[in-house]
């Protein structure tokens, strides 16, 4: 499988605090890779380093073989990586359609074309009937949909979703899962940061586990659930010991 995104030995320090230490992995074309780990493991920091919100202290990020380390976010977006935010940032004073059009304007200067592009994406994300609602008055699930739709409108090759399922109920999580699979069918690669295991396991091709800034495991979903170090990181030593006894 061709490598789309490759990160090598990423270290990010904030003063003395080491948020990421020597993390390396890659995302292939048309692949869903999930980044999991307990709170404070440095998932979002890694996300920001890749997406260009701040440069990593050490290490390199390659996209389609090109070095994109430390490039500003807007340039990285133009190359084909678009992210969403953990805390949804809907453009409140703009309608759903305008939110998505803003993304679509990356590839066209024409308002009509942007509207047309946005329409297809609104349909796919199930937002068509809410197109004229202001972003600020949406429910949380629709805000997350808009977030994904707006990112989609920039036609990325790699879509990075930061905890897009947090705060959703079971049916809504199912919706987002289906959407992720649909996006993969469209030929996209996804890098997903997520807490919710049961949602992430069935749709991921590969999983990378971070703990305390370091990568502790990488592999297929079924390998990860049985990985001792992962269990220890998530549940603590005591549970790991007990599970061994029984």
């Amino acid at each position: 499988m061709a490598e789309l995104l490759k990160i090598e030995h990423i270290t990010k320090k904030f003063g003395n605090l080491v948020a990421n230490e020597d993390v390396s992995f890659s995302v292939g074309e048309n692949e869903i890779v999930s980044l999991i780990g307990p709170n404070g493991a440095g998932k979002t920091t890694l996300f920001n380093s890749i997406a260009g919100y701040y440069p990593p202290t050490e290490g390199k990020v390659y996209f389609q073989g090109q070095d994109i380390t430390g490039k500003p976010a807007y340039d990285i977006c133009k190359m084909g990586i678009t992210r969403t935010f953990q805390v949804v940032k809907t453009l409140k004073e703009m309608t759903v359609e305008e939110n998505v059009m803003t993304g679509a304007f990356l590839h066209t200067g024409s308002r009509r074309q942007a509207k047309k592009d946005a329409e297809g994406i609104l349909e796919m994300t199930g937002l068509l009937d809410k197109r004229n609602v202001k972003g600020g008055s949406l429910t949380i699930i629709d805000k997350k949909r808009v977030e994904i739709a707006r990112a989609m409108a920039t036609r990325p090759k790699l879509l990075m979703l930061d905890e897009c399922m947090a705060g959703l109920n079971q049916t809504e999580i199912k919706d987002v899962m289906n959407l992720c699979v649909k996006l993969k069918e469209e030929g996209l690669s996804l890098l997903i940061v997520e807490h919710i295991m049961e949602a992430i396991m069935p749709i991921s091709d590969r999983i990378v586990v971070l703990n305390a800034g370091k990568k502790i495991a990488e592999g297929l979903p079924e390998e990860i659930v049985n990985n001792e170090e992962v269990i220890r990181a998530y549940l603590g030593d005591r549970y790991n010991a007990e599970s061994k006894k029984s």
Partner: protein, 341 residues
């Protein structure tokens, strides 16, 4: 085309009113003066709206560009006999260039800090122009009437020159010229709002991070907004100088002038193309009514009423009068829909 006309129906109604009122119910010099002021301040209000309403970068220093426009065209006219039509463009370019140089790095500042920086720019300009002897220093420049400017020309030539030099011995033509310029500015602003640039400006206003995540370089788009805004503000300054016939640093650069642009737009509707014109109409109508009521200068009563009004409006609806109008429209629309169902 028809669609556009339909969308901007209120604008056409407004335009009609502005054309008709000066030759029907408002045929006095007083009313003409007020309408000219409305148009000039609304024009600069539109300019301010681009950077502060659409792009969300509050500027308290638009008097800087307004003053540069006024000074540039006046200096060119008085010293070099160059028509203000060219003078306003030169002034616009100078103002835009100043905005570009000053804000190239200043856009790192956000929120209140940025607002304070803009304030300083206008204050610096005020100080420079009140000390600069070439532009009259503290005395300012009084514009000589066109006959005095070029002595020995015939009467018909003067009439032609008056157009060329935007002379306002006859107020009505000047009023319509200002109106035409305002309409042009309005169209430009409306077109910008509906283009990619307008969408990007609004995205930046709502969230820097989102803007960056979808491929927008916020600095460049903010600079663009500021430069266009400065250009238009300078044109407004030229019209002001031509109308007022006298400029000095205290008249065109003070903070009170900057605040007029802010207040008319905030009252009318922040981030709405109708905002500045609605706000300016209310501001100057109040001024006119109070003067009629109390006689003389109006004894500052209009300021008190205006102050109360702006507190009232911004407390109930941050998007100004246009925000209230929109809310009423939505309610009516919702009711209609409900009735049908």
């Amino acid at each position: 085309m028809v669609e556009i006309l339909k969308k901007y129906r209120p604008a056409l109604v407004l335009l009609l009113l502005f054309i008709l009122i000066p030759i029907t119910i408002g045929r006095t010099t007083d009313v003409h003066n007020v309408i000219i002021y409305i148009l000039i301040y609304a024009m600069v209000g539109e300019a301010w709206n681009l950077i502060s309403g659409f792009t969300g970068q509050t500027s308290f220093g638009h008097a800087a560009y307004f003053g540069i426009g006024a000074y540039t065209s006046t200096v060119l006219l008085e010293y070099y006999h160059i028509t203000p039509w060219i003078g306003m463009l030169v002034g616009g370019v100078i103002a835009a260039a100043l905005a570009f140089v000053v804000y190239f790095n200043m856009f790192k500042l956000k929120g209140h800090y940025f607002a304070i920086a803009t304030l300083c720019v206008a204050e610096i300009m005020k100080t420079i122009f009140s000390k600069w002897t070439w532009v009259g220093a503290g005395d300012g420049i009084a514009l000589t009437p066109i006959t005095g400017l070029i002595p020995g020309v015939g009467k018909s030539a003067v009439a032609k020159l008056a157009w060329l030099s935007l002379d306002v011995r006859n107020r009505l033509p000047f009023l319509y010229t200002t109106l035409a310029m305002f309409v042009l500015v309005f169209i430009i602003c409306a077109a910008l709002e509906n283009s990619r640039i307008g969408f990007y400006w609004k995205a930046i206003r709502e969230s820097h991070e989102v803007a960056e995540s979808i491929g927008i370089n916020p600095r460049n788009y903010k600079l663009l907004a500021m430069c266009i805004s400065a250009f238009i503000a300078a044109i407004g300054g030229t019209f002001f100088a031509q109308f007022f016939k006298y400029i000095d640093a205290i008249t065109v650069f003070p903070m009170s002038v900057s605040m007029i642009f802010v207040l008319v737009t905030v009252l009318g509707g922040l981030g709405n193309v109708y905002g500045p014109i609605i706000g300016a109409v209310i501001y100057y109508s109040l001024d006119l009514i109070m003067r009629r009521l109390t006689g003389g200068s109006g004894s500052g009563l209009d300021q008190i009423v205006f102050g109360a009004l702006i507190v009232l409006v911004t407390c109930t609806e941050p998007r100004g009068i246009m925000g209230i109008v929109e809310r009423i429209q939505e309610k009516l629309h919702g009711k209609k829909k409900g009735g049908e169902a």
